[in-house]
């Protein structure tokens, strides 16, 4: 097996390594792209071992080097419309961010209609069918950013940990805008206009009490592209290693070249492989408290027996799987608001559920239930049993 580790690459063996690359490249007219990352003795980007393709071999694997010279003509050039349709990412410098605007007030209206059932009042988070939906704010972002050094250990064992939410933790608002438009609302993504996305972004900035260019994002605030590009979040510089600018790859390589930066132990960097008497006499054994977390689905078992036969169709279970993501907080099972929908007759309610509605109800909740099964779930939702 041929391998090189980071230490070898950065040590006096650099000349020998370069020689091997020269052999590896001799089959093609141009240098293989794989060599670029590691020539001139650069460390690997993750601090790990590099297995170059040498003499038709990478690590233990044989490689058909004749297949690696390019010359393939598959596919076609995408049209500009196709690229525009898919190239929707928004970068911190504003690349990809369209023109548009939206107010905090409009954002709040949208939030109340499409987001509050999962993210809770004022973005405080809410419990769902499984675990909790994320909070979008944990209070004033500038104050909460100061909690990043909180550790729930020692004297603060039962105290507060770091309050990680959009305003206090995220480095960039471009991430929020992009994610709202591509990944939200959760059951019906990619359905918000640019202006609606600006409005929701403005609302989330406001509940985090963000100040843009000296101006607090209050109820009257209208966010547009120009103002957006002036946003600076309090934790922008809370991340390592540096990943911005032309020198970023080298900064990342340097970071991972030092095991201490990421809590690792490396025997080539002074760590010790202790074999005898490696602990103080005072160490303690920490046990799982009680049964610990053990609400496993299915329950833990290693028994080898015949599975229980499946029972009849269970609308409550189908509700949990297909509907509860939205309906836990809105028209929940047995909720009195159902009275406002059943007035036009149960068949109308069935039809809306089966076909979906413009109000955001996906057809059959996105499930693959049969019509008969789905109607049983609707009955369950209305009656709550």
């Amino acid at each position: 097996m041929f391998k090189l580790d980071r230490k070898l690459i950065t040590s006096a063996s650099v000349i020998a390594v370069a020689g091997l690359f020269a052999i590896g490249c001799s089959g093609g007219s141009a240098a293989t792209p794989g060599d670029v990352a590691y020539k001139n003795g650069k460390a690997t980007i993750d601090g790990g071992t590099y297995y170059p393709i040498v003499d038709g071999q990478t690590g233990p694997y044989a490689v058909n080097e004749a297949a690696r010279n390019g010359g393939f003509t598959y596919g076609r050039k995408p049209t500009q419309n196709e690229i525009d349709a898919w190239n929707k990412d928004v970068m911190p410098d504003g690349t990809g961010l369209p023109e548009g605007s939206g107010s905090v007030e409009e954002g709040e209206e949208l939030y109340e209609a499409q987001c509050v059932m999962c993210h809770g009042d004022f973005g405080s988070g809410a419990s769902g069918t499984a675990g909790g939906y994320p909070a979008l704010s944990k209070g004033n972002a500038y104050e909460m950013q100061k909690t990043m050094t909180n550790q729930r250990s020692g004297d603060n064992k039962d105290g507060d940990g770091p309050a990680r939410a959009f305003g206090s933790y995220w480095p960039q608002t471009s991430t929020l805008w992009w994610y709202i438009q591509s990944g939200m609302p959760h059951p019906n993504t990619k359905s918000l206009s640019n202006d609606e996305t600006y409005a929701l972004t403005a609302y989330i900035l406001s509940i985090n009490e963000i100040v843009i260019d000296g101006e607090e994002v209050d109820d009257e605030y209208v966010l547009d592209r120009e103002k957006f590009l002036k946003i600076q979040l309090p934790n922008e510089n809370g991340f390592v290693p540096n990943i911005d600018g032309p020198n970023a790859p080298e900064d990342v390589r340097k970071f991972y070249a030092n095991a201490k930066n990421f809590g690792a132990q490396n025997l080539n960097q002074g760590a010790v492989r202790c074999m005898k008497d490696c602990q103080a006499d005072t160490v303690k054994t920490v046990y799982v408290k009680g049964a610990g977390i053990s609400d496993f689905n299915p329950p833990m078992s290693v028994v080898r027996d015949m599975p229980k036969e499946e029972g009849p169709f269970d609308p409550a279970a189908a509700y949990e799987a297909a509907c509860a993501a939205c309906h836990a907080g809105y028209l929940s099972p047995g909720a009195s608001e159902w009275a406002g929908y059943t007035g036009k007759g149960i068949e109308k309610v069935y039809a809306n559920g089966i076909n979906g509605t413009e109000g955001g109800m996906p057809a059959k909740g996105g499930s693959s239930l049969s019509d008969a099964e789905f109607k049983m779930v609707v009955d369950y939702l209305i009656k709550g049993k």
Binding site: A37, N87, G183, Q279, V286, V303
Partner: protein
């Protein structure tokens, strides 16, 4: 075990006389089952040997019965599992973890491969699959599924691990289970194409193409930024998983594979690769998958899963309650590193105070699960604390719990790889513990 016998009786007994004969046998087994469920009585003829079960006399299933084969029904407890703690509001933003206590060798069956998604498992029509590759290239390209599969294929065995594997236990152990403490990972033989082989014809602009966005086509359109070094080393676009097409839970029809790195970077249901001079600041590399250190700085772009190991047998799921004094037993486990090849595993019977070398077994591959074991003579009533500690060829060795917490604090969530300890109680049960100062 009593239950096993009863159920298998229902399944195989065909006449009333046989039923009574069998019930008599069961009651003897049941009495003995409390202590040693899998062992046979020394003094009596074993019913399982002394009668012809139904499967030995009746015709079995025709070859037409399972055109796509399924596991034995008796294996129904060998499944992925989930828990509400590991869900962000619903089961579409959640994880189902692999039963590594039942895993054999270094390959996970496709149906048991851990499954993580942010907007549910997308069910993609491969006829509508398109892969767009664009950005800092001389030539942008769009490919169909069939066209992508025309590229020369590469097959590699690699684990994929969620960097939150073990991440619930920075402050203390919480899961008395190896499936949940260490099962946010699985391993497969992947088939696909090196991205660098596709790029040869697309004219990558070396000065400005420093990062690659990989974006999924699922509900959440999950995306991540990959540095160009990895793209030009061993990153692959894969369509094959253990000899068949990817499973939907693993990104059918095509996912990114960045060997050894965070599972989250191996973007599933892939639709787009974009090359750029600056990173993309995707949600899953800012809000999540960043590891907050005690100095208040979070590690971003934390790529490789570091060297790690665990004992799989015994484990809380696979205790030693049936062992007799003096039994010779193999202690077995997994070691893995996303930063290289496993070079050795040290083993401790006293929670990491003293170590002896364990033995590696089978194939030892880069960025792959590696099996190891050590033989042990069981002494009834003896309390043990079993700890494994792996090393890789990049020089990394697993830290102690104290070392890792000392450097990083307890709030990082991701990339915890301190040594794991199982305590074997005097009656052979196994509990998950940590040894801390």
């Amino acid at each position: 075990m009593n239950k096993v016998q009863e159920n298998s009786t229902e399944n195989t007994v065909s006449d009333r006389r046989a039923f009574f004969k069998k019930t008599a046998a069961i009651s003897t087994v049941a009495a003995a089952a409390v202590v040693a469920p899998q062992n046979l009585l020394a003094s009596e003829d074993d019913h399982a040997i002394m009668h012809h079960p139904a499967w030995a006399q009746k015709l079995g299933d025709p070859v037409t019965a399972n055109l796509y084969g399924m596991p034995s029904k008796y294996e129904h407890n060998n499944t992925r599992r989930n828990t509400p703690l590991l869900a962000s509001g619903n089961w579409q933003a959640s994880i189902a973890v692999t039963p590594i206590h039942e895993s054999c060798g270094i390959i996970t069956p496709n149906g048991l491969f851990f499954s993580r998604c942010h907007g549910g498992t997308a069910q993609i029509d491969p006829n509508e699959f398109r892969l767009m590759i664009h950005g800092e290239l001389e030539r942008d390209i769009v490919l169909t599924y069939d066209q992508l599969r025309r590229y020369p294929s590469v097959t590699r065995t690699h684990f994929i691990e969620c960097p939150a594997n073990g991440g619930q236990e920075w402050r203390a152990t919480q899961f008395n289970s190896v499936q949940f403490a260490k099962g946010f990972m699985a391993s497969a033989e992947w088939t696909g194409v090196y991205i660098k082989d596709i790029l040869k014809d697309l004219g990558l602009k070396k000065e400005t193409a420093l990062w690659m966005l990989a974006e999924g086509s699922d509900n959440s359109e999950m995306g991540r930024t990959i540095p160009i070094d990895k793209v030009l080393d061993d990153a692959m676009l894969v369509w094959g998983q253990n000899g068949e097409a990817l499973r939907p839970e693993q990104g059918y029809p095509v996912r990114l594979l960045v060997p050894g790195w965070e599972g989250n970077l191996c973007v599933k249901w892939l639709k787009r690769l974009e090359f750029a001079s600056e990173p993309f600041y995707c949600k899953e590399e800012t809000a999540k998958y960043t590891a907050l250190r005690k100095d208040g700085k979070a590690i971003q772009h934390f790529y490789a899963n570091e060297v790690n190991s665990t004992v799989t047998s015994p484990s809380p799921e696979k205790p030693w309650t049936d062992l007799k004094d003096g039994d010779l037993i193999e202690i077995e486990g997994l070691a893995w590193s996303g930063m290289g090849t496993i070079t050795g595993v040290d083993f401790s019977f006293d929670g990491g105070r003293n170590y002896v070398p364990a033995q590696l077994k089978g194939l030892v591959l880069p960025k792959s699960w590696t099996r190891w074991s050590i033989m042990h003579t069981y002494k009834k009533g003896q309390v043990l604390q079993l700890t494994s500690r792996a090393m890789d060829d990049a020089g990394y060795i697993q830290p102690t719990v104290d070392q890792e917490v000392g450097q990083l604090g307890v709030e990082g969530v991701y990339h915890r790889n301190a040594v794991e300890t199982w305590e074997v109680t005097k009656d052979g049960k196994v509990n998950h513990v940590q040894i801390r100062s």
